[in-house]
């Protein structure tokens, strides 16, 4: 959880972000968005001198940084034949450099959800979040509609970077750096930075308004959220939409707030033992480990019980469940925000064309007619 901190005196100006990054690289390994030869953007860990110039700000990678905090796969504990031993992740301090507002809102959401999860928290403690204000809307993003961006929200990052102006002539920029937490303040100790003042903060606000105004009209999303909460979306519409759900799990994997997992056990192989070709799996377990991995509520088996009973047998129930979890007011008391942060990744990855925009449009069209 990010502590609120008096930020009045902790804002600075910076010409070259590389300076900040090099400073942080002394204490943290740097994770940032990189573009490969095909133009694909990925969150990538960098080492030593291989620090390349920052790329990104308004370019959201398809894969969110979720996996750096809530790992796709991790060992929870091992059984040594006698007792179970917790295996906490071995982590080095990392700086996530240039996280966009939507992903930061999602991390704040998961911080709450995983507040008491020792594995998540072990990773989280070792991460410094450097947020970056988006300068234009991204293709499928609608952060404005769900109060998650385009500028970094309060209390979601340790350091916030906001580009105040670009000098086209020489390509240089001026950046506002806000140290928003104690961790953030400590991270830039030893750097010599010019202080920013109120006019810079005002400029940031002005720029925010400008970016907000550039978003196209996503009112169908707000409308659909209302219909969803009135429980006025007919079952028939969910049935129709769910025919298109292939159960691929792409939406839940890419969703930065999705947190469901399952566990499975792996028997540790005894390398010195001769290879057995017997078919009977006997319970002569000496050692095993229990691993958790991301799960998806869209899988038919997600709630299927050993008896065969399945409370969410129908694909329509599962599709509805996903959107309930993202947009229901019922979750507001716990999280003070919706589970959707408006990144639009589900729209990009859904093979069945039932990502957030497609679904919300259908709901809006059907329910208003």
């Amino acid at each position: 959880m990010i502590e609120r901190y008096n930020i009045v005196n902790n804002r600075y100006l910076l010409k070259d972000l590389g300076v900040l990054k090099h400073h942080l690289a002394k204490y943290y390994s740097v994770v940032q968005i990189q573009k490969d030869a095909d133009g694909e953007k990925l969150w990538t860990e960098q080492f030593g001198d291989k620090i390349e110039p920052l790329f990104g700000h308004n370019h959201l990678p398809l894969t969110s940084p979720k996996g750096f905090l809530f790992a796709e796969k991790e060992v929870l504990y091992k059984f040594d034949g006698e007792t179970f031993k917790t295996i906490l992740p071995q982590v080095q301090p990392k700086v996530m450099f240039g996280v966009q507002a939507c992903d930061l809102s999602a991390i704040a959401y998961q911080d709450k959800f995983f507040e008491h999860d020792p594995y998540y928290q072990k990773r989280r403690e070792n991460i410094l979040l450097v947020g970056i204000d988006c300068e234009s809307p991204c293709v499928t993003g609608f952060c404005v509609q769900v109060d998650a961006g385009p500028h970094v929200k309060d209390n979601t990052a340790d350091l916030v970077l906001s580009r105040l102006n670009v000098d086209d002539a020489n390509g240089s920029s001026e950046w506002l750096v806000i140290a928003a937490t104690e961790k953030g303040i400590n991270s830039i100790k030893g750097m010599t930075l010019d202080k920013a003042d109120n006019k810079h903060l005002k400029l940031r606000t002005k720029l925010l308004e400008k970016v907000r105004s550039e978003f196209v009209d996503y009112s169908y999303i707000s409308n659909a959220i209302e219909y969803l909460n009135n429980n006025s979306v007919p079952a028939q519409l969910w049935e129709e939409l769910s025919v298109r759900c292939l159960g691929c799990s792409g939406c839940t994997n890419l969703c930065p707030t999705c947190s469901c997992y399952t566990t499975y056990d792996v028997v540790e192989q005894q390398p010195e033992k001769p290879v057995s070709i017997s078919r009977e799996v006997k319970l002569e377990v000496t050692k095993s480990e229990t691993i958790r991995c991301w799960d998806s509520c869209l899988f038919e088996g997600f709630q299927k019980e050993a008896s065969g009973h399945n409370p969410s047998q129908k694909a329509a129930q599962r599709v509805e469940r996903f959107w309930f979890h993202k947009f229901s007011d019922e979750y507001l008391p716990e999280f003070q925000r919706y589970g959707c942060v408006g990144c639009g990744r589900c729209e990009q990855t859904c093979p069945g064309t039932i990502g957030v925009h497609s679904v919300m449009k259908r709901i809006d069209q059907q329910c208003c007619s």
Partner: protein, 282 residues
């Protein structure tokens, strides 16, 4: 921080009960329960190398920490569990969730409707009521498919002398006691002197819903009916997401729900027409 790593327990006794069920007595190994366990809570068993699953306490831990569970062989994990015997070591997490409203049922006319293996989660409640002198006000309606699938024979024999015990069979019962438990309910709840203050039901979900609806039709309030909801739990602590009922997790707000609470949760999501399947007892 939460502890997801299991503690170890040892199997100290095993015996068969009914056609596909078995009693296990477990003993904690190197730990004691910090908090008292309430009747109707559940725990997770981990079979190293196989996986984990939720089970309910048939009896809560005694002074030595030993407790019982009645387990039905339904799947991969229980099949492996059934291959274990005395002395084998397992992983254990618990207790989890909310139990039966024991405080509310004292001095009340209590009707318990259990189906199949759903008798196990209410067994400790029945023992509690008997041991505390409330047996006169307890009626147990126990419904199964046939006599072979009845469980807890020893316990039922013991109970039959102190509480009113009615057993129905879907197949093979005498004319009064054959068919579904809901059919018997209307018969039972017609007599004013039998009218319960509170109903606890446990069994296949479709049976519990049918029982609850029949009770409401016969004049009970939804807030007087309690049920224990089974879900595919993975963590017991509200993290893994599997046991959702609308915005609640059965592992925390449940597995025991008051019917009106459950209905309120259900009403938050769309009511889909369920494929018509008659319930089968577990």
């Amino acid at each position: 921080m939460l502890q997801l790593t299991p503690q170890t327990i040892r199997i100290v006794d095993v015996y068969d009960d009914g056609s596909h069920a078995r009693h296990f007595t477990f003993e904690p190994k190197g730990f004691v329960h910090d908090n008292p366990i309430s009747i109707g809570q559940f725990f997770m068993l981990t079979l190293p190398g196989v996986g984990l699953a939720p089970f309910t306490y048939t009896s809560i831990p005694d002074k030595t920490g030993r407790f019982n569970a009645l387990i039905r062989n339904v799947g991969h994990l229980t099949e492996k569990l059934f291959s274990l015997g005395k002395g084998d070591v397992l992983g254990y997490n618990g207790p989890f969730g909310r139990g039966w409203p024991v405080g509310l049922i004292k001095h009340k006319e209590v009707l318990i409707v259990a189906g199949g293996c759903g008798l196990a989660p209410v067994a400790a409640t029945i023992d509690y009521l008997i041991n505390n002198g409330y047996s006169k006000s307890v009626t147990l309606l126990y419904a199964t498919r046939d006599s072979a699938s009845q469980v807890l024979k020893k316990e039922r024999t013991r109970w039959s002398s102190s509480i009113k015990l009615i057993e129905t069979l879907e197949v093979g019962g005498d004319s009064d006691h054959s068919g579904l438990p809901t059919q018997y309910l209307s018969h039972l709840l017609n007599k004013d002197d039998q009218y319960p203050d509170i109903v606890l039901t446990c069994g296949p979900e479709a049976m519990m819903m049918a029982v609850a609806n029949s009770c409401v039709d016969l004049g009970l309030k939804t807030s007087d009916i309690w049920m224990s909801i089974e879900r595919r739990m993975r963590c017991g602590v509200g993290l893994c997401g599997h046991c959702y009922v609308a915005n609640s997790y059965a592992c925390q707000q449940g597995p025991t729900y008051r019917y009106d609470e459950y209905l309120a949760l259900e009403s938050k999501t769309v009511a889909f027409e369920k494929d018509k399947v008659l319930f089968q007892y577990c």
